[in-house]
C-alpha cells in the first residue's frame, strides 16, 4: 500500500491540469440536453480528442493514450476539479466502448471506436420499453431476420439525449420463442435509419433530454450486431457492469462536487436564515466524507482490478453508493440556500447560476437509471450476501 502518487503519476496529473487550465471554457456550456448545447458539447469532445484526451485509457490506435486504470482515475479527478464540461458521449465512450472492445469484431472496432473517440458519432442507449424497465428481460421490441438484415418493430423509451444522438445501442428480441433472457440480440442502430421515428420527451428539468424511438420495419444490417445473435443478454450485462461499476461515475466527479459544497458552506452558512450551523455543518462534512469514502473504495477496487480480479455484484453496491451520495450532496447544498433553494438556472439571483438545483434534479435520476437501487439491493443481497432468491 502506498497512497502517494508516484513521480510519473504526479507528472501526469500536472500535464492534465495544465491542458485543462488552458482549454476549459471560461463560461459553462449550455445544457447538453438541448439541441444547441448538445452541439457545443460535441465541439468540446472534438477539442479533447484533438489532443488525445477524450479516451485516455483506450489503445493509441483508437484515439487513446493506452493508460491504465490508475491514470484514468487521476484524469477524472483533474477533469472534475477543473470544472470541465460534462461528457456528452459518456454513453459511447464509457459504456458502449468497453463493450465493443470486449465483444466487437476487429472490423466493428475499427468502424465504431475512432469516430466515437473523436465525438463525430455520439451514442444514446436504447434499453427501456414501455413494458420493460427494471425487468429488462421483458423487452418485446422485435428484430426479425431477413437475409443479412434485421427488421425492427416496436418502441424504446427514456433514451437520454436520443433526440440529438447519431447512433443508438440496445437489445432487441430476435427469437420470440426462446426463454426470455435468451433470444435477445445487441444491435447498433443509426439515427437516420428509415422506419425509425424519434420523439423528444421533456425531462424533470424541462430539457428535451429523453426520447422515444418508434421502429416500424426499420432495417439494420447484420454488421451492426454486437456479439452473437440471440446472445445479447450477456453483452448487455457487460455494458450494465460498466454503468454500475467504475466507468460511468469516477470519484473525481463527487469529490469535486463535495469540495464545492464545502465552499458553498463557507460562503452561505451565515446567510442561511434560521440555519442551525452545527447541524448544517455536520451534513456538509458527512457528504464530504462520503465522497472521500467513494474515492478510497474506488482505489481499493482499482487495486484489485489491476491485480487481475473482476468486479461482479460489487458494481451494484458501487452504484447505490454514488447515486445516493450525489443526492445527499445536492440536498445538503439546497438546505444551505434556505429559501433561495427554489431559484434555479436562468434567474440572475440564482446562487452559482442555479447549478445546485440543476444538479439536484440530475442526481435524483441516479437511484433510478442504470437499474433502480431497489434492484441493486436485491443483487447485493442475493449475490454478495447469498440470501435466497425466493
Amino acid at each position: 500500500m502506498d497512497l502517494t502518487l508516484t513521480a510519473a503519476e504526479a507528472a501526469f496529473c500536472d500535464e492534465v491540469a495544465g491542458w485543462l487550465a488552458a482549454n476549459v471554457p471560461d463560461e459553462p456550456l449550455p445544457s447538453m440536453d438541448t439541441a444547441a448545447g448538445f452541439e457545443r458539447h460535441r465541439e468540446w469532445e472534438r477539442r479533447l480528442a484533438a489532443d488525445r484526451w477524450s479516451v485516455v485509457s483506450w489503445p493509441e490506435e483508437f484515439g487513446g493514450r493506452d493508460l491504465g486504470l490508475v491514470e484514468w482515475l487521476l484524469f477524472e479527478e483533474e477533469y472534475y476539479r477543473a470544472g470541465a464540461p460534462g461528457r456528452v458521449n459518456t454513453n459511447g465512450i464509457s459504456l458502449l466502448g468497453p463493450t465493443v472492445f470486449a465483444f466487437g469484431t476487429r472490423a466493428q472496432q475499427e468502424r465504431f471506436l475512432p469516430p466515437m473517440a473523436r465525438g463525430d458519432e455520439i451514442w444514446a442507449q436504447a434499453w427501456s420499453e414501455p413494458g420493460a424497465g427494471s425487468d429488462l428481460a421483458a423487452i418485446s421490441c422485435r428484430a426479425r431476420r431477413d437475409g443479412a438484415w434485421f427488421v425492427l418493430d416496436g418502441q424504446k423509451t427514456w433514451c437520454s439525449r436520443g433526440g440529438f444522438a447519431d447512433w443508438y445501442f440496445g437489445l432487441f428480441r430476435t427469437d420470440p420463442d426462446a426463454e426470455r433472457h435468451r433470444g435477445l440480440s445487441y444491435l447498433l442502430v443509426p439515427r437516420d435509419t428509415e422506419g425509425l421515428t424519434v420523439r423528444e420527451v421533456s425531462r424533470l428539468d424541462g430539457d428535451p433530454a429523453f426520447a422515444e424511438l418508434f421502429f416500424e420495419g426499420a432495417r439494420v444490417h447484420e454488421s451492426n450486431l454486437l456479439g452473437d445473435e440471440n446472445d445479447g443478454w450477456g453483452v448487455a450485462m457487460r455494458t450494465a457492469s460498466s454503468e454500475r461499476g467504475l466507468n460511468l461515475r469516477a470519484p473525481g466527479r463527487f469529490t469535486a462536487a463535495a469540495d464545492r459544497l464545502v465552499d458553498l458552506y463557507r460562503r452561505e452558512a451565515d446567510q442561511a436564515a434560521g440555519a442551525d450551523h452545527a447541524v448544517r455543518r455536520d451534513a456538509v462534512v458527512r457528504a464530504w466524507i462520503g465522497a472521500q469514502a467513494y474515492r478510497q473504495y474506488t482505489w481499493q477496487t482499482a487495486g484489485r482490478l489491476v491485480g487481475g480480479a473482476t468486479i461482479g455484484a460489487e458494481a451494484s453496491l458501487n452504484k447505490i453508493f454514488w447515486s445516493e451520495l450525489d443526492v445527499a450532496i445536492h440536498e445538503t447544498a439546497l438546505a444551505l440556500l434556505g429559501d433561495r433553494a427554489e431559484i434555479g438556472e436562468g434567474d440572475p439571483t440564482a446562487v452559482d447560476a442555479g447549478a445546485w438545483l440543476d444538479g439536484y434534479e440530475f442526481a435524483l435520476a441516479g437511484p433510478i437509471y442504470a437499474g433502480t437501487n431497489e434492484i441493486q439491493r436485491n443483487v447485493v443481497a442475493e449475490r454478495m450476501l447469498g440470501l435466497p432468491r425466493r
Binding site: 500500500m1 472521500q292 482505489w299 487495486g303 425466493r390
Partner: protein, 351 residues
C-alpha cells in the same frame, strides 16, 4: 498510488482469523462476561506468540517491527471475533507509545510479549479500559504523558454495557518519576496516541459490523415464516444490503487512515476521524439491522448477537463518537470557527 495489501499482509490476516475462529469462539467471549477478574482470555497468549500483541514494537524489543498497515487487518479480525481483551489500548496505543518515547527498562519488551499489560487513559475519556489486569497505565496529565504503575493508582470500577469491558475511573497523582514525556514531544505523542486508539477502534468496528451481517445472513437464510426463509423477503434483503453498503465503504477509509498513521501524513488526524466516524455509524447500523432481522431471538442474552451489538455500541462511543470526529473533520476543512475542545468527553459534543 497502490491501495492493495501485500500477500503477506493478507496471509497474516487469514492466519489470525483462523486462530480466532478456533480459540476465540463466542463461548470464550461469553466466558469473559462471566469472569469477575477480567483476566486475559485464552487467546491472548496465542495472539502474543503469533506476534500480534507486540507487532508495532521493534524486533530488538521482541516485536515484529511492523506498522499500522500491517496491524489494521488483524484488528479488524479481532473485532469480527469480538475479542474480549483490550488489544487496541495495549497493542495499538501503549506499545508504540513506549516505542516512541521510551519507558522503564524492560517494559516495552514485556508489553510486546504480552506478559505485562499496559492500559491507556487520555483526557476526555471518563474511564480507563483493562485496569484490573494492568501492570501500568499511560495516563495524560495536561500536556504530559505519565507511566503509572499499578501501585500508584487506585480504581473505582465502572460498569459497561459490554460485560467484557472492565472499565474504571482511575485516581492517581503525577510525579516527576512517573513522567514519560513532556513539552512539544508530549503534545505530539498525545495526539498520535489518540489517533492510534481511534484508528484501532475503527478497525474493530468494521470487523464487528461484518460479523453481525454474517450472523444475520445465516439466521435469515434458515428462519422460515409464511413458508419460506425470511431472508427471501425484499424488506429483509434491503436492510442487509444497506448495512453491507455502510460497512464496505467504511473499510477503505479505515485502511487509508492506517496508512496515514503509519506514515504520519499531514492529514493523519483528519483521515483517522473520517474512518472512526464512518466505522462507528456503520457498526451501529449493522447492529440495529442485525437485531431487527433476527427478531425476538436477537433480543435475548442467550443468543450471541447481543455481545457483538453491545461491543459495537461501546466502541462507537469510545475514542470519540461519530459526531465528534465529523466535527474534527470540519475543523480541518476550515468550516468551524473554534478549535476542537481538548476535552474529548463526547457528552459535551452534541451541538
Amino acid at each position: 498510488m497502490d491501495f492493495t495489501f501485500s500477500d503477506d499482509q493478507e496471509l497474516f490476516r487469514s492466519t489470525v482469523r483462523d486462530l480466532l475462529a478456533d480459540r476465540c469462539p463466542p463461548s470464550v467471549v461469553r466466558a469473559a462476561w462471566d469472569d469477575p477478574d477480567g483476566s486475559p482470555s485464552p487467546v491472548w497468549a496465542p495472539l502474543a506468540d503469533m506476534g500480534v500483541v507486540g507487532l508495532l514494537a521493534p524486533e530488538s524489543a521482541g516485536g515484529l517491527g511492523m506498522d499500522e498497515v500491517d496491524l489494521v487487518l488483524l484488528l479488524e479480525e479481532t473485532g469480527r471475533a469480538a475479542l474480549p481483551d483490550p488489544l487496541v489500548e495495549h497493542s495499538a496505543v501503549a506499545v508504540p507509545a513506549l516505542r516512541d518515547v521510551g519507558g522503564p527498562h524492560g517494559l516495552l519488551e514485556a508489553a510486546a510479549s504480552g506478559d505485562r499489560f499496559v492500559g491507556v487513559g487520555l483526557d476526555g475519556a471518563t474511564h480507563v479500559l483493562g485496569v484490573d489486569r494492568a501492570d501500568a497505565l499511560i495516563l495524560q496529565h495536561g500536556g504530559e504523558l505519565h507511566l503509572v504503575t499499578v501501585d500508584r493508582f487506585s480504581v473505582t470500577p465502572v460498569r459497561s454495557v459490554d460485560g467484557t469491558r472492565r472499565l474504571a475511573a482511575v485516581e492517581w497523582s503525577p510525579g516527576p518519576d512517573s513522567r514519560l514525556v513532556s513539552g512539544d514531544a508530549a503534545t505530539s505523542a498525545v495526539a498520535l496516541a489518540f489517533d492510534r486508539g481511534a484508528l484501532g477502534t475503527a478497525a474493530q468496528l468494521v470487523g464487528l459490523g461484518r460479523a453481525m451481517i454474517d450472523l444475520t445472513v445465516g439466521y435469515v437464510g434458515e428462519r422460515e415464516q409464511f413458508g419460506k426463509p425470511v431472508g427471501s423477503y425484499q424488506a429483509v434483503k434491503h436492510h442487509l444490503a444497506n448495512a453491507l453498503l455502510e460497512v464496505e465503504f467504511a473499510a477503505p477509509l479505515v485502511y487509508a487512515a492506517a496508512w496515514a498513521v503509519a506514515n504520519d501524513t499531514p492529514d493523519r488526524s483528519r483521515d483517522v476521524s473520517m474512518a472512526k466516524a464512518t466505522a462507528s455509524d456503520a457498526a451501529r447500523t449493522a447492529a440495529r439491522t442485525a437485531l431487527q432481522c433476527h427478531g425476538a431471538i436477537g433480543y435475548t442474552v442467550e443468543y450471541d448477537l447481543h455481545m457483538w451489538m453491545k461491543r459495537a455500541w461501546a466502541l462507537a462511543a469510545a475514542w470519540g463518537h461519530a459526531e465528534w470526529h465529523r466535527e474534527r473533520v470540519s475543523h480541518s476543512l476550515g468550516l468551524a470557527p473554534d478549535n476542537v475542545p481538548a476535552d474529548r468527553n463526547q457528552r459535551e459534543q452534541t451541538t
